[in-house]
Amino acid sequence: MDSLLNALASGLSLGALYAVMALGFVVIYRATGVLNFAHGAFLLVGVYVASVVSESHGYLVGVVAGLLTGALVAVVAETVFLRNSRTHDHVTLTILTLGLNLLVVTEVSRRIGTETLPLRDPIGNDVVEIGAITMPTVRLIALVVAVLAITVFLLLFRFTSWGLAMRVSNQDGEVAALMGVRLSVVSWTSWAIGGALAVLSGLFLASFPTPGVTPALADTAFRAFPAAVIGGLGSVGGALVGGVMLGMVEAFAATYEGSLGGWAHNLSGISAWVLLLVVLLLRPQGLFSAKQVQRV
């Protein structure tokens, strides 16, 4: 029972972080139709800058610097590389982000070298105990911050002209243009938000109970891919549900795989992908995206 509750709590906080990351994918996808493979790069470069800046200016300044860096790098990716491309094919541009990712990760990895860089967060390895649940304080804060970030995002999405533009631009560029929305503004702001969200989740993923900033952090972005897709790439709500589902599945797999035995004993690493495979075979457009109808 205790382990069940702990798995739930751990799955929920991990899921919240995946949701934040998945939200980044969805925002970028809605605005520009590109699946951003450079998410891991944004995350890594932001968290790296946060670590370096926090050494001299303290944790909070470091966090702000990291978030801004993530947003900035994302904006550069959109305005310099994607927008100036002569092709507009989304698949091809998606591959371009793969190239960007490798470029940035290679350089940041080179700078980090073999070290593990600390983030110097003031919370350290405190834990909170609620009944039978023991949970790292950082993960609890992550849960709160993730919920806050998602709420702020949803408010922006629902009630601002930017959000309105986001909602229509994906569906119909002409309508958006008629509404006086500048698509270029929508797309770079979306990338900025996506980049910042990547770093936000990265900041928590590099804190307790994981050791700190290492190049391998870039790979965690991959783990959030299934979250974004399970819900439906274009669906904001889907990203949230997908993220939480994924966190839960991973936490439960990690908790109980020992008792499964055989092939399942190391299942947590691929559980998300198996879930994705099953979901997409049943609903090829994800759980929450409406069926896509092609017009002729």
Binding site: S3, N6, A7, S10, V105, T106, S109, R110, I112, G113, T114, E115, T116, L117, P118, L119, R120, D121, G124, N125, D126, V127, T134, P136, S207, F208, P209, T210, P211, G212, T214, P215, A216, A218, D219, A251, A254, T255, E257, G258, H265, N266, S268, G269
Partner: protein, 421 residues
């Protein structure tokens, strides 16, 4: 189609005629005797000996190879300054294997004709991949891994004690100091790869020897959060957790144990960096972690360690020294001994250098690492380990508790595994 054939046929005939005078027709590359009477082979000219370094140089663990090669070069710079080997300077050709054994193979093929021996600072089983080629080319590989499977490759040389024996030494130490007693449970958190499987095997062996129970868990090799595994082992009542992983999960496990008030000793092979030990988890690490190691920490006052630190300081523009630097330095030292032996025998061919590894007998590392002995092919070069304690204040982040020592349990285990011949 016909016109196509018409175009190709004469050209082909011409091509075949020309090919008769291919330079490959008379295959006389490599081999010979220099003016100084030393027999030479691949990678050796009258004034240089070239060694290959097949290591990861880019990507997430590229830093490991970069620092490792820096260590190898640091050592041979000293050798070259003293006149080299056989009046020849040592040069290093480094290639990126992208931490992928198949890529190691490709790079090896590109280099094998031009090098006299290979250093491979890659934590995989590259030497097994290369085995048949090494045999054919006669080349020796200094392996960067302590995976016991490498012992079966007679052309490969690991610079220390295999992972499983090291785990036995660590558990033996914990039994000696009273942390573990008969009937206690040990937990294992292991990657599903070389280090994980070897440590698992070692723990099982030690458990049998000391009458302990074992609880196994696995962790994905890309994961760094060991919360679920630690919780599982806590429920199982494990008094000691042995890590068959890199540094990340070790730090995570220590943090989780500290946070949840789990009184456990975490035994890991020393893959922690200074940043790990001095980071947010430093108290947790100091309280819970005990390390086993094949090499001394930089806080050691052994002369070889001090010499290395001094040499590094002179050359590195303030870059901090890391464990891979020391590993590379140590490997270079071993290779140097073999080269010297081959030189003394008047034969610098690859096979002769390989054979020299056995001839040099016991290699004293002057406290830099465990002493090594390659004289019996297939046997472990060492069964001893350092036991270290993490210490954020110490240089390199750890201090020596004991060692290097070979436990009785390790000797018995090695005997049972056929590591002693």
């Amino acid at each position: 189609m016909k016109s196509f054939v018409k175009a190709v046929a004469p050209a082909l005939a011409l091509g075949l005629a020309v090919s008769a005078c291919s330079s490959k027709a008379d295959d006389s590359s490599g081999g010979g005797v220099g003016a100084d009477g030393v027999k030479t082979g691949a990678g050796v000219t009258k004034d240089s000996i070239t060694l290959a370094a097949l290591v990861p140089l880019s990507g997430p663990i590229g830093g490991l190879g970069q620092d490792g090669v820096a260590g190898v070069k640091l050592y041979f710079d000293k050798v070259n300054a003293d006149g080299g080997v056989c009046d020849r300077t040592i040069a290093i050709e480094a290639r990126d294997n992208k931490y992928n054994s198949q890529e190691t193979m490709t790079q090896y093929t590109g280099l094998s004709g031009d090098v006299a021996a290979v250093a491979n600072l890659s934590p995989g089983t590259d030497a097994i991949t290369l085995e048949s080629r090494l045999k054919k080319d006669g080349l020796a590989v200094m392996a960067g891994s302590y995976d016991p499977l490498l012992l079966a490759v007679h052309q490969a040389f690991m610079p220390g004690t295999p992972y499983d024996v090291e785990a036995v030494n660590g558990i033996s130490h914990l039994v000696d100091e009273g942390t573990l007693a008969k009937g206690d449970t040990i937990g294992v958190i292991a990657y599903p790869n070389g280090i994980g499987e070897a440590v698992t095997k070692g723990v099982d062996g030690a458990a049998e020897h000391f009458g302990l129970k074992v609880e196994h868990t696995k962790i994905d090799s890309t994961a760094t959060d060991a919360t679920a595994q630690v919780n599982t082992l806590k429920r199982a009542g494990a008094k000691v957790i042995v890590m068959g992983t890199a540094g990340g999960p070790t730090v995570s496990a220590a943090s989780v144990a500290a946070a949840s008030g789990y009184d456990v000793t975490i035994l890991a092979t020393n893959l922690l960096s200074q940043g790990d030990v001095q980071g947010a988890a430093k108290e947790a690490i100091v309280d819970h972690v005990l390390l086993t190691s094949n090499s001394a920490p930089f806080s050691s006052d052994a002369p070889a360690v001090q010499e290395l630190l001094a040499a590094w300081e002179k050359q590195a523009d303030g870059r901090p020294i890391t464990a891979p630097v020391a590993a590379g330095y140590l490997m270079a030292g071993v290779l140097h001994k073999a080269l010297q032996q081959a030189c003394d025998d008047g034969d610098l061919t690859p096979q002769s250098i390989t054979d020299s590894m056995a001839k040099v007998g016991k290699i004293e590392t002057d406290g830099l690492g465990v002493d090594l002995d390659y004289s019996t092919p297939g046997a472990a070069p060492s069964l001893a380990s350092f036991i270290l304690k993490p210490d954020p204040a110490a240089e390199g982040g750890a201090v020596i508790v004991t060692g290097p020592e070979e436990s009785d349990a390790a000797a018995a285990y090695a005997e049972s595994q056929g590591y002693v011949k």
